[in-house]
């Protein structure tokens, strides 16, 4: 004898009146904001015109370039310093600690200026085996910006990587050791890949921060986005219009990389959770579906 399946439950879903109310309030406030802006003394056409202006686009390109390179330098330094600090060697551990202490303890703006003005300390720089050069020739705005931003970033990345390394269960190290793996192999193949899940989200944050912090490189005359905007507005005095054009570029850059970060995190969550978080499209689909269900009939 088979029992009939129980009747499917039909229930009125909970009504979320608060959500509808907050939507109305938000739309109202946004309207006020747009109204205020419409009365402001800004020539939007100028903003648009400069948004695609050659100097500004090139500046945005340089902002992207210096951010990517400085972040890459920071990641490499961060991994090396984190491994140094967690190694059993007291000398390398102390060096790693000093590095973090110094570069995290001084403003990055100051560090940029020190690199840029290095010629006051050393007239010439000699590279063993490669000869020597005038410091002022080597320390171009680009090099000063790269070193200043990258080496500073290395100190922050070192802490992030170290947190990642310690987050991996000790049993993983033991299992790898029991298989005869040595420290280098064990870090590279077992611990670091698992630490990535902890390292990637804050690194994405760091990079998005770097896109904006790179504006500080304008102080050493590196022709990135902000310096490009400043160079134009000192001539035509359309200050706000150019700052808005630059802001738009910064928003585009940070938005693109925020999306990239999301997919990168998903990739590294593999094996750690059975269900990956939904992509924005999946989430939108779901919330639309639930909103339809909640719609009062």
């Amino acid at each position: 004898m088979t029992a009939a399946p129980p009747e499917r439950l039909v229930a009125v879903p909970v009504r979320h009146w608060g959500r509808w109310l907050s939507a109305v309030v938000a739309i109202g406030l946004f309207g006020l904001f747009v109204h205020a802006l419409s009365g402001a003394d800004v020539k939007w056409s100028t903003t648009w015109q400069f948004f695609t202006f050659d100097t500004i686009v090139k500046g945005a390109g340089r902002t992207l370039l210096i951010s990517v390179l400085a972040q890459a330098l920071g990641i490499v330094i961060g991994v090396v310093v984190a491994v140094m600090r967690s190694s059993g060697n007291p000398v390398t551990a102390a060096i790693g600690w000093l590095y973090v202490w110094f570069f995290r303890g001084t403003p990055v703006l100051l560090q940029l200026l020190v690199w840029f003005n290095l010629a006051f300390l050393f007239q010439t720089l000699s590279f063993p085996g490669l000869g020597s050069a005038q410091t002022s020739d080597v320390m171009t705005p680009f090099v000063a910006a790269l070193l200043g931003l990258g080496i500073n970033e290395g100190a922050y990345m070192a802490e992030i990587v170290r947190a990642g390394l310690t987050s991996v269960d000790e049993g993983q190290t033991e299992a790898a050791q029991a298989l005869g793996m040595r420290r280098g192999l064990l870090l590279r193949r077992i611990v670091l890949p698992q630490a990535m899940r902890v390292i990637v989200p804050p690194t994405g944050n760091e990079f998005i921060n770097m896109l904006k912090t790179s504006a500080l490189a304008s102080i050493v005359q590196y022709g990135e986005l902000l310096l490009a905007a400043q160079a134009i507005y000192t001539n035509n005095l359309q200050i706000m219009e150019l700052l808005f054009a630059a802001a738009l570029w910064y928003l585009i850059l940070t938005s693109v990389f925020s999306i990239g970060q999301f997919y990168l995190e998903r990739r590294f969550a593999r094996g750690a959770s059975r269900n990956l978080p939904p992509t924005p499209l999946q989430r939108l689909h779901r919330s639309l579906r639930s909103a339809r269900r909640e719609m009062p009939r």
Binding site: D169, G171, Q172, E174, A175, A176, Q177, A178, L179, G180, M181, R182, R183, L185, R189, I190, P193, Q194, R270, G271, A272, S273, R274
Partner: protein
């Protein structure tokens, strides 16, 4: 008689002020299955971890297959082994952990072939072929591409056994391999271990599975308070214990 695979003489180990091993004497012959029994805190896991140098011995002698563990003797002096020497010694000893410790970012097959490829430099195709055969041997042919999180505890532990076997060890250490498993999953892991024992693998097993110890072990060692209380054939130690402490323990677990 051949020389023992594991030989311990007066092995001591302390963690700070706490002396965990207070002079362990033990010999395990090649092809033998030795089960270590005893209450928690008796030092049996610590002793097992000393055998592949996951813990350092403080005093006494411990050797595997005639080689001192973690040290080299020249004349009267002992020299600590370098990291690559310790690693080489460990690569010949398989270890299975209570918590499995599979690499979660790798599939079952990748877990099994990782060490042969990276440590032993076995060609990839050959390692994969052997890895598949090992997974088949532990009954997991259909889980080759599964990640550890997608496997049950018993399946994970069987992958862990296959991973250890992939290095073709001369000795296998099991640290409470079934203690973290649901009761109904214990059997599948013990069956794999029975098969290994039948194939002549030398095994040292820390366990609370009295049935397994009785059926499979050649020697049962009962430890308490950091010393070996008594040891011998399973029927002697389990059915006719000579010491009060052994009797008390067995009375609780049997």
């Amino acid at each position: 008689m051949s020389s023992p695979m594991v030989l311990a003489e007066k092995v001591h180990k302390s963690f700070g002020a706490l002396e965990v091993l207070k002079g362990i004497d033990l010999a395990v012959q090649p092809g033998e299955v030795c089960c270590l029994l005893g209450p928690s805190g008796s030092g049996k896991s610590t002793f097992l971890r000393c055998i592949n140098h996951l813990e350092k011995v403080d005093a006494g002698r411990l050797s595997v297959d005639g080689q001192l563990v973690g040290y080299r003797q020249q004349g009267d002096r002992l020299y600590e082994l370098r990291e690559h020497e310790v690693a080489a010694a460990r690569s010949e000893i398989g270890m299975v952990f209570q918590r499995f410790n599979l690499f979660p970012h790798m599939t079952a097959l990748a877990n099994v072939v990782e060490a042969p490829i990276r440590v032993r430099r076995v060609p990839k195709a050959e390692a994969v072929e052997r890895g598949r055969a090992l997974l088949a041997r532990v009954g997991l042919s259909d889980k080759v591409d599964a990640y550890p999180a997608q496997l049950s505890g018993g399946q994970q532990q069987r992958v862990a056994i296959a991973r250890a076997l992939a290095m073709q060890p001369k000795l296998m250490l099991f640290d409470e391999p079934t203690s973290a498993l649901d009761p109904e999953l214990v059997g599948e892991v013990l069956d794999v271990m029975r098969g290994l024992a039948a194939d002549g693998m030398t095994m040292v097993v820390v366990t609370h599975e009295m049935g397994f110890a009785r059926d499979v072990a050649d020697t049962v060692v009962f430890m308490d308070g950091g010393v070996v209380v008594e040891s011998g054939r399973p029927q002697h130690v389990l059915d006719d214990p000579q010491h009060e402490r052994t009797r008390a323990f067995l009375g609780k677990v049997l």
